[in-house]
Symmetry: C6
Subunit: 74 residues, 6 copies
């Protein structure tokens, strides 16, 4: 797999949040490597409230990590 994560540093908190989203998706991607299957699953969880909340939770956990790596952009 090509390099996709060379640093946790971002310029702004928003970019950090978006990196957290990338990390959450990569966690799914490593577990289910088929882009086709992942694509097929999108309509399922994208229209399920709890699935969306669960996805938001994983982002929240990664955002803690990214924020810490950036000293909370202080």
């Amino acid at each position: 797999m090509a390099d996709w994560l060379t640093s946790l540093k971002t310029e702004t908190p928003q970019q950090g949040f978006e990196l957290a989203i990338t990390l959450a998706r990569k966690g799914v991607g490593y577990t289910q490597p088929s882009a086709e299957i992942r694509q097929a699953l999108r309509p399922v969880y994208e229209s399920d409230a709890d699935s969306l909340t669960l996805a938001s939770q994983v982002i929240a956990i990664h955002f803690q990590t990214v924020a810490l790596a950036n000293n909370h952009w202080k």
Copy 2:
């Protein structure tokens, strides 16, 4: 997407809590970009006790991050 997160600093813990709510919702918003679909899902999870607790949990995780960024407003 326009800038929506330029700092994790807030003046009070309550504003920090409200920022945590924003972050939790943004996590959902990035995953399901359609405001229409998100709106349609609201009645479902807003009347389900566990869905509300789960939403509260994501807020709690983000509040940890925001609190740390603000040195817990000491």
Copy 3:
């Protein structure tokens, strides 16, 4: 909304625990603002073991934050 969170400081760990409960409930309250609906949901989750454990989990996450804000009451 009136001020409800002006500080994370409490005198004792027990008060900190009770603040964590308040924070967990506020997370629900912001998501479902209708007190009537929240009241209607109480019997559901209050008699479901997993719902209670899930509620306890959100409290645990907030208690981490409050404890840190109080330097663990050392």
Copy 4:
């Protein structure tokens, strides 16, 4: 309610773990104050594998807090 949590300090990690269990149960107890109902729910979650894992998870979160309060008993 009488004082039940005056300190997070314990002499040993094991006592800290047991305090974490107390905290997890208190989270349930504040949410469902009826000891009778809680007692009635015990057989349900005590014989469900996922319920037990979920309970163990809440203990784990509280144990993080207690361990930190005790400087990990170093």
Copy 5:
């Protein structure tokens, strides 16, 4: 109950991981003290993917604590 946790220190990260597993199981053991019932539940969660992931999650939370206690074995 006999002493089973006198220190969070381990010599290697792997031993720390195994201690995290012990802690996760102890959380279950305190909640369901009957070894017989726990044994009966094993086939259920051991052949359910989500139950295994959930168990892995509790281990992950405890591993955070043990790693911190060991200064991440640096």
Copy 6:
């Protein structure tokens, strides 16, 4: 069991992320030691959106630990 975790140090964040995946899988592996059964479960959770999100969550928790052990690769 042979040594599989001698250090939490990695050269890059990406290797740290991959170590987090290993840790998440090891948590499953210790709980269900049969590679055959784990293999049989793969198709189930690999095609279930929530199972994948849950797996991603465990990775996120371990990534926090690994990132901390590496001082966030600063």
